[in-house]
Amino acid sequence: MRKQLIVDSTKCTGCGLCQMACAIKKKRQCEPSLARIRIWRDETRGMFIPMVCQQCENPPCAAVCLMNIITKDPVNGLTIRNLDACIACRACQVACPFEASHYDYLQEAVVNCDHCQGSPECVQYCPTGALQYAPLNAVLDNGRHNEALRRICT
């Protein structure tokens, strides 16, 4: 079964190791904004939500891409990009509901998470299990999502 990067925001402590791990793996730089994952921080309401590409079935980023370079990999279901042809117009960034398309200023292209060829670095670093790499239906738990919603909405 296809695996997915699954986020449990109730376990996220906001340590940012996922961003650091991603940036150092992909870019050999200690620079969180080069990562393909972000932690959405709301300190006044006390919550952290890791935001990462959900590998949508019908990706909005692909729908708006001017160059038609965003496609679905038929084998692993990942949303992939032909970065050589990216003109960095950033329409995909605007369209993504998860804020998971990121402008890589070193490469001058917009990138998304590629699951590190089946072994996501961020998951290995995550100290709490807030990030998991597992079959999608294995981890879904409505209770946790409802709790997260309650906190956002109150």
Partner: protein, 636 residues
């Protein structure tokens, strides 16, 4: 170092007298000798601050030194040290905080920020990817730190900020510099220094990136460090309860600060503050940059007067300071923590000075006429009211805003109620309740009455026995723990006597101070699981992997020792006397848990500590040999 590795490579120097700045390149020698963080701060302040200045004058030098490992994958590498001459002690003032400020400052291009001078009108400083600008802070002045940060975050999304609240603006001597919403460089009154410069905030935002010298090696060392930390017996408890772990043992030892150090513990301490209460009030954990422990908690008060209050809290500091020190309820102590954050006041000193005021009230030295209302231990409303008065310097607050020592001198025999060492209020770990490296370290701490610069890396909270000689504490672990300790064998065998199961307090203090100082230089956290497992061998590997500068573990420890000695020289230069290293009289005269301190014995441990440091045994002056060894002779 134009092609800097690990370091950002530059120090930013700001002169507020004429809104000018310039950038200084780091040199490799400077990096190796002073490492970063507190090391940079010590050297810069020693060299720049003229002798004998008023801490609140424009001449004072305020330095933000980011730890060397900050912004890397190395676990818990998040810490930034802020230092200046302290308005509380008149000595070296310094404080350490984590979260994300340091990572951003380094990514904005700077390893340290040096601020001198004073502006006529309030300003804030914006540092963004190597660019510096000064902005009018008129509309922010008077706002509390949370409101201020809300405004700044709206204007500069994703920024981090070091800022002051009303207490800093009003030059409350123990005002702190807030680090984001819930953290602070709290001790020794650095917020007042910032306020005296009319500097409301330092806003940083950066994405320049930090290039490790050897990525593979850095990743390898980071994982090694992580596995070591996770294997520490202190890891599990700290992950679950954070610093609140210490609250119950210290209560059992009668070593808390209870009711302004008149007691060692409160009778209902356990019911009010034990683990079930932590669980009741908290709903998640909060980490600093790259931390695998996440010792802090999200707190939500669901019922009662403070219902709806949500913040990061439940640390042992506010809990002891307000909960046991002033006898407040748990919920009110969270409220007090919120007010400390908003107003920007050091919780330890605020709790200390309020505890003293209540005691003076009980002694009849101050009256309801002075305060405007009655004071009593455990009277939550009165205490919170008094905090407000202090932050705004209203009524008695005008006196108390000067800190416990200065305020007590306003009253005849007032000083008997001021629980301080060298002008700084003592947080907890009463040496009467617990004879240990940790409690002894309060005496030798270069920033005065404080417990965070000297903790035995293998502090054993299971035992509190005084069957040993007075200069020893029980070791209490087995050979395996002894072997695993990253410490040179020569020092280890002197410090720990396995056969008799004891640790020598004087020798371990020297080691612990240098070790913690090393952590504060490298920007690594000193939480017990980290301090316990990581030592100079691994840190030297990490330092070299990140910066490319070759250094041995001995050189690393020596650089830390150099920094400690330089701060001691600064303190002596600014007027510290040997007789200042003493606890409040109460500790020698009144018993807590059936014990009081023996002055002669304590003096003997102090003498042994000076010897262990290579200082003059009677005066604590660093000896010429020691200064030569540390290449500090020329600074004299």
């Amino acid at each position: 170092m134009s092609q800097s590795r690990g370091y950002a490579g530059q120090i930013l120097e700001v002169d507020l007298n004429n809104n000018a700045f310039h950038r200084n390149e780091l040199t490799q020698d400077f990096c190796k000798d002073y490492l970063g963080g507190i090391g940079f701060n010590a050297k810069i302040i020693y060299d720049r601050a003229p002798t004998g200045i008023d801490a609140l004058s424009p001449e004072n030098v305020l330095v933000f030194g980011v730890g060397t490992m900050v912004g890397s994958t190395f676990p818990t590498s998040s810490r930034t040290e802020v230092s200046a001459k302290s308005p509380m002690t008149g000595l070296f003032g310094t404080s350490n905080s984590g979260m994300f400020f340091g990572t951003q400052l380094k990514n904005a291009g700077f390893d340290a920020l040096v601020i001198q001078g004073r502006t006529d009108k309030p300003v804030y400083l914006l540092i963004e990817n190597g660019e510096i600008s000064f902005h009018d802070a008129g509309r922010l002045w008077g706002k509390d730190s949370w409101e201020t940060l809300d405004i700044l975050r709206k204007q500069y999304p994703g920024c981090e900020a070091a800022l002051i609240g009303p207490a800093g603006e009003n030059l409350v001597r123990f005002a702190c510099i807030e680090n984001g919403y819930y953290d602070a460089w709290a001790r020794t009154g650095l917020g007042a220094v910032m306020g005296s410069k009319n500097l409301k905030a330092v806003v940083v935002r950066g994405s320049l990136g930090i290039t490790p010298d050897n990525v593979e090696k850095l990743i390898e060392v980071s994982w090694k460090a992580r596995q070591l930390i996770e294997s520490s017996p202190f890891f599990g408890p700290f992950k679950s309860y954070g610093s609140m772990n210490a609250a119950m043992p210290y209560g059992n030892f009668k070593a808390l600060n209870a009711l302004n150090f008149t007691e060692g513990c409160l009778p209902d301490w356990k019911e009010k503050f034990a683990r079930p209460k932590v669980e009741e009030l908290t709903y998640g954990h909060v980490a600093c940059q790259s931390c695998i422990i996440a010792c802090a908690h999200w707190v939500e008060i669901k019922e009662g007067k403070y219902k709806g209050l949500r913040m990061k809290d439940m640390e042992v500091t506010p809990t002891t300071s307000f909960g046991s020190g002033c006898g407040m309820s748990l919920e009110a102590s969270v409220k007090a923590a919120e007010m400390s954050q908003r107003y920007g006041m050091d919780m330890v000193s605020a709790g200390g000075v309020i505890g003293m005021a209540i005691e003076l009230f009980n002694r009849g030295i101050i009256t309801a006429d002075d305060v405007g209302y009655e004071l009593a231990f455990g009277d939550d409303d009165a205490i919170l009211h008094l905090m407000e008065d202090i932050a705004h310097r209203r009524g008695l607050g005008q006196v108390l805003a000067e800190g416990a020592l200065r305020a007590s001198q306003q009253y005849e025999d007032g000083e008997a109620s001021a629980m301080h060492v060298k002008g700084l209020e003592i947080p907890m770990i009463d040496p009467r309740g617990r004879t240990s490296t940790w409690s002894f370290g309060i005496l030798t701490n270069i920033r005065g009455g404080d417990h965070l610069r000297c903790r035995n890396p293998i502090e054993n909270l299971r035992y509190n026995e005084n069957k040993h000689e007075f200069q020893k504490e029980r070791f209490g672990f087995d050979q395996k723990m002894y072997d695993a300790l990253d410490m040179p064998d020569t020092i280890k065998s002197q410090a720990i006597d396995l056969e008799n199961d004891t640790t020598d307090i004087a020798i371990m203090s020297r080691w612990a101070e240098d070790l913690i100082n090393l952590f504060n230089s490298l920007g690594v956290c000193i939480r017990p699981p980290v301090e316990h497992r990581l030592g100079p061998t691994l840190l030297a590997e990490a330092y070299t992997a990140f910066t490319g500068i070759k250094i041995t573990s001995d050189e690393l420890m020596q650089s830390s020792e150099r920094c400690w000695n330089l701060i001691k020289l600064f303190n002596l230069r600014e007027g510290e006397k040997p007789e200042d290293s003493k606890f409040p009289r109460r500790f020698y005269e009144q018993e807590v848990g059936g014990k009081k301190l023996n002055e002669a014995q304590l003096q003997e441990v102090l003498r042994q500590y000076y010897v262990a440091r290579g200082w003059e045994p009677m005066t604590g002056q660093p000896s010429e040999d020691k200064l030569r060894e540390l290449r500090l002779s020329s600074v004299e």
